[in-house]
């Protein structure tokens, strides 16, 4: 799975480089996020602006990651559009993840 990462102070910005997040790469996404969380990253912004499709398996990976993160950490989703945003809305993920229109917005909010 393609991705890039960038550290902004205590915040880790992960930008997914895949157009689709689905059953085939959901385990990698889960490993990536769980790995970062186990490494001690408790503020993660996941930039989904390049992703144009996400299925329930990928959503499962996100939910697994937020469960691993616990109540003190933050896993924010940024840049979701189209079907991805639709899925997040359908499943009311705004109650689980902070959602931001863009990574910049997410960073601004988290750095406050």
């Amino acid at each position: 799975m393609k991705f890039s990462q960038e550290r902004r102070g205590t915040v880790l910005l992960l930008e997914i480089g895949e157009a689709r997040l689905e059953a085939i790469n959901a385990p990698e996404l889960r490993e990536l996020l769980i790995g970062r969380i186990e490494n001690g990253d408790h503020q993660i912004v996941l930039d989904l602006k390049l992703v144009n499709f996400m299925d329930s398996s990928a959503l499962g990976a996100l939910i697994g990651a937020i469960k691993k993160m616990g109540p003190l950490g933050t896993l924010a989703l940024a840049g979701a559009t189209g079907p991805v945003l639709q899925l997040l809305k359908l499943t009311r993920m705004d109650k689980v993840f902070p959602l931001y229109a863009s990574a910049a917005a997410a960073l601004t909010k988290l750095e406050e």
């Binding site: 689709r20 959901a26 329930s56 009311r92 109650k95």
Partner: protein, 647 residues
Amino acid sequence: MNIRITLAILLSIFGMMLLIIIWYQSSATYRHYQLSTEQIIIDQARNDLLSAIIGLQNDQAQIALIVSSAGSGPVSDDFLYQSADAMRRTSEALSDVGNAKLQELGAAIGRDVAPLSLYADELTTVIASGNTDAILAQSSTALDRIDLAKQRLLKIRQAILLEVGITDRTIGGVHMIRSYIVTVNDALQLDRLLTSRELEGGTFLQPQTIQQIEDRSRALQVSDRVYMDLVTLFDERIVFKLSGLSSFLQNTYLPAKAELLRALAGGRGVGAAKLVWIAAGDEAVGLINGIQTSVFDRSQAYLAQQQASAVLALKSLIGLSVGVLLIFALSLYIIEKHIVSPLEQMRLIMMDLVNGKLEPRGREKFWLQDIRTIFDALRVFRVTAGRRERLTREQLLLHAQIAEAHRRLQSDMNAAAKVQLAQMPPPGDVDQIRFSTFFAPANVLAGDTFDYFALSEGRVGLLQVDVAGHGAAAGLVSVAAHLGSRRALRSLKAEGRLADAIKKLNAYWNPEMTYFTLVAVQFDTNDGCGRMVQAGHPHPVLMRRDGSITRLGNGGLPIGVMPDAEFEEIDFPFEVGDKLFVFSDGIYENSNENREIYTEERFIQFLAENVACSTEELLHKVRGTLDAWSGVANLSDDVSLVVAERF
């Protein structure tokens, strides 16, 4: 044709050639040996023939002497017998020789032996009688017969020379000396014969003067010189004897004869002179015999030496041949034992390798380095092949085990799938609601499931579950989610809130298990309405009898994400002719070959376009649409659709 046969043929040819060469050499050498042996016999025969000729010459002179001095001279009683004896020996020796011509000549000599013996008997008898007239008459006949016999023997001698030839210088020398002896003796004996006759008759038929004798002596001297030079090449000792004879004839015999002539002319001292002359003649004969013996000894020694060298050559050749044959046999043995036999073994080992026979063979010692190397390589091939075969066997075994495990898993999965399918009711009516379904699992076990059942007081429950992912784990969670949801709906009282039942289901859902999305519906056929809870599941679509289409719900958290989540309960009308479409996301998340999603919008559009269709027709079209978009066989997610229709 194989190596063994080829080598056998080649070596047989080689061996045959070798045998032929050895045979030719041996037979040539053996022939040489035979010839050398024959040469000895022939030489003896020639010597005997020479003795016979000289004997006959001597006998002629002897007979003449006897007649001239009847009774007064020394009488030898074995003359002619010695010659006959020598002729018999010659004849016998030649009859043993392999040459037909020589045998014939031998037989011719043999035929003269008996008549000659007969003359000898007659002559001896007559001489013994002392009758002078009879002796005279008999001797005259005898001399003629002897002369004839002598001439025949000389001719035979010539014939033998022509037949045998001069084999080498030594034999040539021997022949020349023998010819010389014959000539000298002939001259001597003729001289004695003639002289005897002259003495007998008292008159000289051939008037001889001292001068003539001296001339003859000189002539002898000249001819001697020519012979001597030639004979020197042969043997110096014999030359010494020959010159001895020559000087004896010149210095003793001829002067004695001259003295006899002078005595006869003077009429005095004839008897004494005659005795001196006879004694000189006899001495000359003795010298000639001595030379003949020397020449014979010399030639026999020479021929024996020739024979010995032929025997040595024969022995050497036999030894050499045996050696060559032994080496040839040893070569055959080495080729067979150390090359051909190992090659044959190699062939068998290779055939075994080809046929997969890989049992180890005993380690054999090979003499040749190359063969050893090849056998070592073959051993390595065998070990490698054995290892490879073992690996293949293990792989096949493993593969069989995997196949068996897979078969068992598959059978378990099929059994589980049957159980799962058994959970889902067949299409049909429940109270006044007709349920039609479309279900296409992506795998044997599905993450999707649904159920509908009658509840009390005209209520009908419907649920649809979608567990994230698919396969065995999703299938098992799906079964659990199905049971949990069904229990939640069944336990719901008529006055109870559906949202509370779902909240409870969510709260008790084991957080270790995968989350799932759910739509739970409760139809009330009495009131013509329905209520539903949407937990992360796609929005159900309500198609009213008038053809209007409504997407129900505002979304909601899936079950198992947040234990304390709240759920919204949505009421909707559901009267006769209304239809509710409940479906999993698989129906609109399928991708086409351009990896393009079908999307919810397209699906709702599809429904809107087919409002007029019967449910059955619609389901048929759904399948067609799915097929057209991505192919039902290529589904990446389970697809389930339940249509509830109030009638």
